[in-house]
Amino acid sequence: MAPALDIPALEVAHLTVSYGSTPALWDVDATFPSGAMSAIVGPNGSGKSTLIAAALGLVPSDSGRSTIFGRPAKEAMRRVAYVPQRESVDWDFPITVREVVEMGRYAEAGWLRRISRSDRAIVDGAIERVGMAPYSRRQIGQLSGGQRQRVFIARALAQEADLLVFDEPFAGVDARTEAALLSLLAQLRDREGRSVVMVHHDLQTVRSMVDWVLLLNVRAIACGPVASTMTPDNLRRVYGAADIGAPAAEGAAWVP
């Protein structure tokens, strides 16, 4: 599909973030069109997760600004569903699948109030949509990696957000589940016009499934439609020549 460029889903300008004295992001400009599936790609430590967190105003930035659907990020967070990296979650936490997905309705309910009956119906629908209904009373730690990720995608669906932001959504997920989840995300884009931005490490999937890509290595190397952006030259600039040459490297699979 042709991504609409008029009002970007997410746009960052001159974004600079540093941890201590080392810059994690340096003067990054990037635009992610609305109604498209976009990926942020780069080597480990290139600032991918930091870019997402800073763009959503979750970590402080030293300079630059970020807009979501044309409005300052802080004012537009209601339209965003964010799925953080899963490493930080305590899998032994006494919580069921359903309770995790219900969290997608918390912002709508607001502080101190309980979620409503219509919220519950939305939660049911989201669980159904990712095929987790038979597991809704299971404790979250009893699920496989792919099932866990489906639960967090269901939570994002329950938020009914226009922009879904995923940090490494397919880490620890097998290829079949990844394909199923990606086609679910593609469905959200095609049928409902939602925008997706994800940090992703598999260049193969990015090429075949994603519309738009940002190549990031502390600085923004290139940002644009996948076909014209993922050139061998740009990838070499992101990953460095050594990585491209190595068989196991992320860039190796597709280089002609």
Binding site: M77, P84, P94, M103
Partner: protein
């Protein structure tokens, strides 16, 4: 009311107030918060004595509460820097405050009897003798105070239930939906500090430290639901109170000690016998798996033997 009932009721209400908060401390891995507060209140007692020249209970409680709040908020702030882990943050803050208290006593109160046991730490056995006159009705102080604190804590976790759940489970996500983990953590810790100090005054230190964490840790092993964990923790608190009191009377021993030990025994039972997470259940599952694997391997070998 009989003395026995007053003591059990005081312990049960104290256990309720503590067990409503304990599960969140266990899940957030700051279980030693109670120990920290029990030491950190010392400078508060010295400060109260310096300012007001008295050891009157209300003044002492206010001084202790002030330093309990300083302690929990300083620990949380230190954790928040990301430079110090939870356990280290606790280990850094309370010895500093305790040392400050020791220094204060040595410098300003060397001639009088000023320590934690004679000021803030109460003794549950004396609960029946400490009564208040409330408009002509005589009420037991500790029952009234701990009843109010338990009710306030119940209200707090009911109101903040989903906030506590989401910020404990997934703080990064909570931040993205504008549920500040920092604000929720502070409210929880303020409740812990106030509850601990009032409970110290009613039942003594060891019972508070035990009932804050042990029932919660036992309940954690017995369920996969947060609401059940809190309910089971409260129930364990009451069982510890009743059984501990009966045991203390039976062998003529310290009531607080017997209640604390009962809670520890219940934890031990949960550790061994909890249906899903207990050690016995785990050993049975492992043995069953091993047998199944051996059987499958034997069958496979048998099939290969027949084929060859």
């Amino acid at each position: 009311m009989s003395d026995a009932m007053i003591i059990v009721l005081t312990a049960g209400l104290t256990a309720t107030a503590l067990a409503l908060l304990g599960p969140f401390l266990v899940l957030r891995r700051v279980a030693l918060m109670g120990d920290a507060v029990s030491h950190a209140v010392l400078p508060g007692i010295v400060a109260a004595f310096l300012v007001f020249q008295t050891r009157a209970p209300l003044v002492v409680i206010l001084g202790a509460a002030a330093f309990a709040l300083i302690c929990v908020l300083a620990i949380e702030a230190l954790r928040g820097t990301g430079l110090v882990a939870s356990d280290a943050a606790i280990g850094l803050v309370f010895p500093a405050l305790f040392a400050l208290g020791v220094l204060g006593i040595h410098r300003y109160a060397a001639n009088i009897h000023l320590d934690l046991d004679s000021t803030i730490y109460g003794e549950i056995a004396f609960a029946p003798f400490r009564t208040l006159d409330l408009g002509g009705v005589e009420v037991v102080r500790s029952v009234l105070i701990m009843g109010v604190v338990a009710a306030v804590n119940l209200g707090l976790i009911t109101l903040l239930w989903k906030e506590l759940k989401v910020t404990s489970f997934d703080p990064d996500f909570a931040r993205s939906i504008r549920f500040s983990p920092t604000v929720v953590a502070r409210l929880l810790l303020i409740a812990v500090a106030v509850t601990a100090v009032t409970a110290f005054e009613s039942v003594g230190a060891i019972l508070v430290v035990a009932l804050l964490i042990v029932p919660a840790a036992a309940a954690y092993l017995m369920t996969d639901r947060l609401v059940a964990m809190v309910a089971i923790a409260v129930a364990i608190g009451w069982v510890s109170s009743v059984v501990g009191y009966a045991g203390a009377v039976e062998v003529d021993a310290s009531i607080a000690g017997a209640m604390g030990l009962t809670a520890a025994v219940i934890f031990g039972i949960a550790l061994l016998a909890s249906p899903r997470h207990g050690l016995i259940a785990r050993a049975v599952r492992r043995a069953r798996t091993r047998r199944a694997v051996e059987r499958a391997l034997a069958e496979e070998r048998g099939a290969q033997g027949a084929g060859a």
